[in-house]
């Protein structure tokens, strides 16, 4: 029983990492209609910036806030000067561009700061507490709660604010959005900026756990994409729940399903995706899109 709870707790902790990246992906998708594969890379870059600022003597929280602000600006500029050229064209091209961007950012991080692991300071204390017989680090609890908070903010942004509505409208139909007076270009920049800022928070939350390397987010990105598909692209709450589910199930499967073990546990989310998509094509929480002519 103790082992089971420990696995669930650790799974939730891993799932939180996937969740925060998935939220950034959902944000860009809802605001621009794209899937940004570079989201993980951008988060790593902000984590490095944060780390450098801390090394330079700034308090961690100040460093994080500066990195978030810088990411917002860089995200907006990336949209304006790079992605804008591909938004109206073939969506496949845009996806390839974001994958190229991911490779580029990873390379730049490696070139600037080497591929060695760097210790990233944690926002939360490192000691553990015991919950139902499982050892849970305060850091995991902190990360978990931070992600719940971010999820609620993103959900409220999209469903409860005028800005969120405008971002979604622009992603769905930029021309009609402009006909209603929405400043389409600025809203697209804001969408990328907000997602990049969220990515910076993601980087700062997970870097202590993963240790900072240029490829830190690679595996998390795969899981985050799985969570996005599973949870439904339109639902922040959905993707976070899916990410937790993936984190927990892969841990349980690794231990309790012998032929899976630790080597094959990466397959778990994908088996889950196949099953879910066959039963519910819109994802677990996504809204069904009915098209009538």
């Amino acid at each position: 029983m103790g082992q089971f709870i420990q696995l669930v707790v650790d799974g939730l902790s891993n799932g939180s990492i996937y969740a925060v990246l998935a939220l950034a992906i959902v944000l860009v998708n809802q605001a621009t209609g794209m899937i940004n594969f570079a989201q993980g890379g951008m988060a790593v870059l902000s984590a490095y910036v944060t780390w450098r600022l801390v090394e330079a003597g700034l308090p961690l929280i100040v460093a994080i806030l500066l990195a978030v602000l810088a990411s917002f600006i860089v995200g907006g500029l990336l949209e304006r000067f790079l992605m804008r050229r591909f938004e109206r064209g073939d969506p496949d091209t845009a996806v390839v561009v974001t994958i190229g961007l991911l490779t580029l950012i990873t390379g730049v991080c490696g070139w600037l700061w080497t591929y060695n692991n760097q210790q990233f300071p944690s926002l939360f204390p490192l000691h553990t507490v015991r919950i139902f017989g499982a050892a849970v680090s305060v850091r995991s609890i902190g990360t978990f709660l931070a992600i719940v908070a971010i999820m609620l903010v993103v959900q409220a942004l999209f469903l409860g604010t005028k800005l969120g509505l405008a971002l979604r409208a622009v992603a769905i139909n930029p021309e009609s959005a402009a006909f209603s007076g929405l400043p389409v270009g600025r809203l697209l920049m804001a969408g990328w900026g907000l997602a990049a800022a969220l990515g910076a928070v993601a980087g700062a939350l997970v870097a202590p756990q993963l240790t900072l390397t240029p490829g830190m987010m690679d595996t998390a990105l795969v899981y985050a994409l799985a969570a996005v598909i599973l949870g439904g692209l339109s639902s922040p709450v959905g993707v976070v729940c899916a990410a937790w589910l993936i984190g927990v199930l892969e841990n349980l499967a690794a231990v309790y399903v012998h032929f899976i073990g630790y080597d094959l546990k990466v397959a778990v989310p994908f088996i889950l995706i196949f099953v879910v998509l066959i039963v519910r094509p819109q994802g677990l929480f996504g809204r069904k899109v009915v098209v009538r002519v």
Binding site: K162, L165, A166, R168, A169, I172, N173, E175, S176, A177, A178, F179, S180, G181, L182, P183, V184, S234, R287, V289, V290, V291, R292, V293
Partner: protein, 236 residues
């Protein structure tokens, strides 16, 4: 008072010039049709006004030339474009579509009462208020597209082939509903339509376009009286 005046407007897609001198005017509160065959340049004329294609000549709105403005800036001046193919936001609900239409407005109370007014006029939309726009029928989507434009409280509404893809009886219902909206709101309209009979349910006068040129204009009664108009656009 003239609200909108087009003087020898030209426009091209790349090297291909498709508008070659379009002139027309819409009086304050009036409704003017643009008739013409497929490919005559009707849609492009509306796109020139709303700033989605670059235009030559002069496009005067309220006396000043609005050429070169971005579509969102044109919208802010009080021109609402209902594009060909409706352009509703499929993954947004009816309510959200209308809220997007009111994006530039700050008068929250008045927005809600305008939504109520619209739903009274277009009762179908009231039934589907919380559905996604993509789930609506073609006629309902067209009404929603007009509703989105209305929510901006425009002074001029540009309407592009509202009958496209609709059964004839549905198209009539849609046009009559828009005519009712016009009577109730007094918004001026510039209405593109291939089917002149439908257009005359809504407009008082019209201009005929042929290969990017306005060749003829007149009141509904005058145009109905002309043989060539009857043959070309009124089905005999």
């Amino acid at each position: 008072m003239t609200l909108l005046e087009l003087e020898s407007v030209t426009a091209s897609y790349g090297p291909v010039q498709v508008l070659d001198g379009v002139s027309l005017s819409v009086p304050e509160g009036g409704a003017v049709g643009i008739l013409g065959a497929n490919g005559a340049g009707k849609t492009t004329t509306l796109r020139a006004i709303s700033g989605t294609v670059r235009a030559g000549g002069r496009i005067l709105f309220d006396g000043s030339d609005i050429r070169g403005k971005r579509p969102d800036q044109v919208a802010a001046l009080g021109i609402a474009h209902v594009p060909e193919g409706r352009g509703t936001f499929g993954a947004l609900t009816v309510r959200e579509n209308l809220r997007v239409g009111a994006y530039l407005r700050r008068d929250r109370k008045q927005i809600e009462s305008d939504i109520d007014f619209l739903l009274e006029l277009f009762p179908n939309l009231e039934e589907r208020f919380k559905s996604n726009a993509s789930a609506l029928s073609g006629g309902e989507q067209q009404m929603l597209a007009v509703g989105r434009a209305f929510m901006a409280k425009p002074r001029l509404l540009l309407l592009d082939e509202a009958s496209l893809g609709l059964a004839p009886s549905t198209a009539k219902t849609v046009y009559d509903a828009i005519a009712e909206l016009r009577r109730e709101s007094g918004i001026a309209m510039l209405v593109v339509e291939q089917n002149a009979n439908l257009a005359f349910r809504l407009v008082d006068s019209a201009t005929v376009l042929e290969t990017g040129r306005s060749v003829l204009s007149g009141t509904s009664a005058e145009l109905r009286g002309m043989d060539e108009i009857r043959r070309a656009y009124l089905g005999g």
